[in-house]
Amino acid sequence: MTGIVLDIVEKRFPAAAGAPAAPIYRDFRLDVAPFSFLVLLAPSGSGKTTLLNMIAGLDRDFAGRIGFEPAAGGAFGPEGPRIAYAFQNPRLLPWRRVLDNVALPLGGGEAAREAALAMLREVGLEEQAGAYPERLSLGQQRRVALARAFVLDPDVLLMDEPFVSLDEAGAARLRDLLRRLLARRPTTVVFVTHDSREAVELGTRLVRLDGAPARIVADIPVTLSAEDRCSPAMVEALRRQVVGHGSSADRS
């Protein structure tokens, strides 16, 4: 729906105890095409989450600009693009029931609750609508977080390693769910991970960052079909190719 233009003149980590302020981005430019699924691959501690927070508007302490362009013929509301963010932790409100957690981004009224219930049905958690989040498994909590993100019908979806700390089968089910949700509600996705297999399986474009300040060391389009993505052999073949492009230090 939306294209994103990142044009960061400079972003520094504030000086922490002992360490001086270090630039993590300098003259960094990245264009994200509308409806693309961009996967950012980078070593940990290189500022991937910071980049997502900057796009989300949570971190405004940088020089440069981040522009959002509506799809042809479209326009944003007065508040700008609708942004959804699936954090590394689900970040649900433990004192609100699952249904209310999903309904609150829409305002929490009766119409919002109905939309939220329909969304929970889509992620297969209709029966848990009345439960409190802490009674759910981590995989279920992550599905609630996905429902909360998609119920907005977002222009931009930011995802920060949303499937980390799940077992492989659980992560695969969630990746499958994410693909189904995206097929019904196409949107521009920026997805951060350090798992190159996950990156190949989901993304339409892989961008690998490295160094400090971070540079783009590889920018690879992924042109796998939907069937190819379900085939572990095809995914693995492309993954080897991608890993070869980047730094040799990658072990994932």
Binding site: I83, F87, R91, L93, W95, L104, G107, Y132, E134
Partner: protein, 268 residues
């Protein structure tokens, strides 16, 4: 030499774990209270002085004081003062505490004031309020509230410091706005701190209210206690004390505790 280790447990002596259920607990409390009344009666009989009346005399005083509805009326008047000052203290204290918890700068400037206020004796505050504002209802309620505000503020400051940044960011991304953020994100996190402040607040407030009434009001439980004190009417003092304590305990059991349970039912 052989060393023998002999177990002391007797077979079958282990009690079922659920023996002390709610009912058994209530029975134990009742027995304990009956024992207290009995002990009181024994001591009163032993002392045999009008300065330590036994339970029957106090019960008679209770009936006498209730005959013209003086006792329930005075208890209601005092409860009204407790409620008003409690409410003012909770609102003002919470606002101050949250502000200090959210802003390090404010806390550096005003944090020490809280410590001074916390250590100011209640009696000093009461006297100053009566001197400055006259022997009025407003002065009385202000005096009680000022005594309680620093307590609430310190508790709520802790709560505000512990507010989750993660959830705050979530609310920001999903555009909750200030009102929805307050209601669904901030207040539920502060609820346990409110409960702690309310619980200790009620205990502190109702005790100070009696002193305030004794010093500068012409009705309420505190005033009646003073009158009885001047007549050395210990039976009436004890009658009022018992009745009022009972009412406060009932409030704690029927209002505060159920609310606390409701506010924490999401916990696993």
């Amino acid at each position: 030499m052989t060393f023998l280790r002999i177990g002391t447990a007797t077979a079958g002596a282990s009690r079922p774990a659920a023996a002390r259920s709610g009912l058994a607990g209530a029975a134990a409390t009742a027995i304990s209270l009956v024992l207290l009344v009995l002990a009181w009666q024994v001591v009163a009989m032993f002392v045999a002085s009008p300065l330590l009346p036994g339970p029957p005399e106090v019960a008679a005083a209770l009936v006498r004081a209730s005959a013209d509805f003086a006792l329930p009326r005075n208890i209601l008047i005092t409860l009204g003062r407790v409620a008003a000052s409690f409410f003012v203290a909770m609102v003002v204290g919470a606002a101050v505490g949250v502000a200090l918890g959210r802003s390090k700068g404010l806390d550096r400037v005003f944090g020490p004031w809280l410590i001074v206020l916390l250590n100011l004796p209640a009696l000093v505050v009461i006297i100053l309020c009566y001197v400055w504002f006259g022997l009025t209802e407003v002065a009385a309620i202000t005096a009680v509230a000022v005594n309680k505000i620093p307590n609430v503020a310190v508790t709520l400051r802790e709560g505000a410091v512990a507010l989750s940044r993660d959830l705050d960011e979530m609310a920001q991304v999903y555009r909750f706005g200030p009102l929805r953020t307050l209601r669904h994100v901030v207040l539920p996190q502060l609820a346990p701190f409110f409960a702690a402040a309310a619980r200790s607040g009620l205990a502190l407030t109702w005790k100070i209210v009696l002193v305030v009434e004794l010093l500068g009001r012409s009705n309420g439980v505190g005033f009646e206690l003073q009158t009885a004190f001047q007549l050395f009417d210990v039976a009436t003092v004890l009658a009022y004390a018992l009745a009022f304590t009972l009412v406060v305990q009932l409030i704690e059991l029927t209002i505060l505790q159920p609310w606390e349970r409701r506010a924490s039912r999401w916990r696993r």
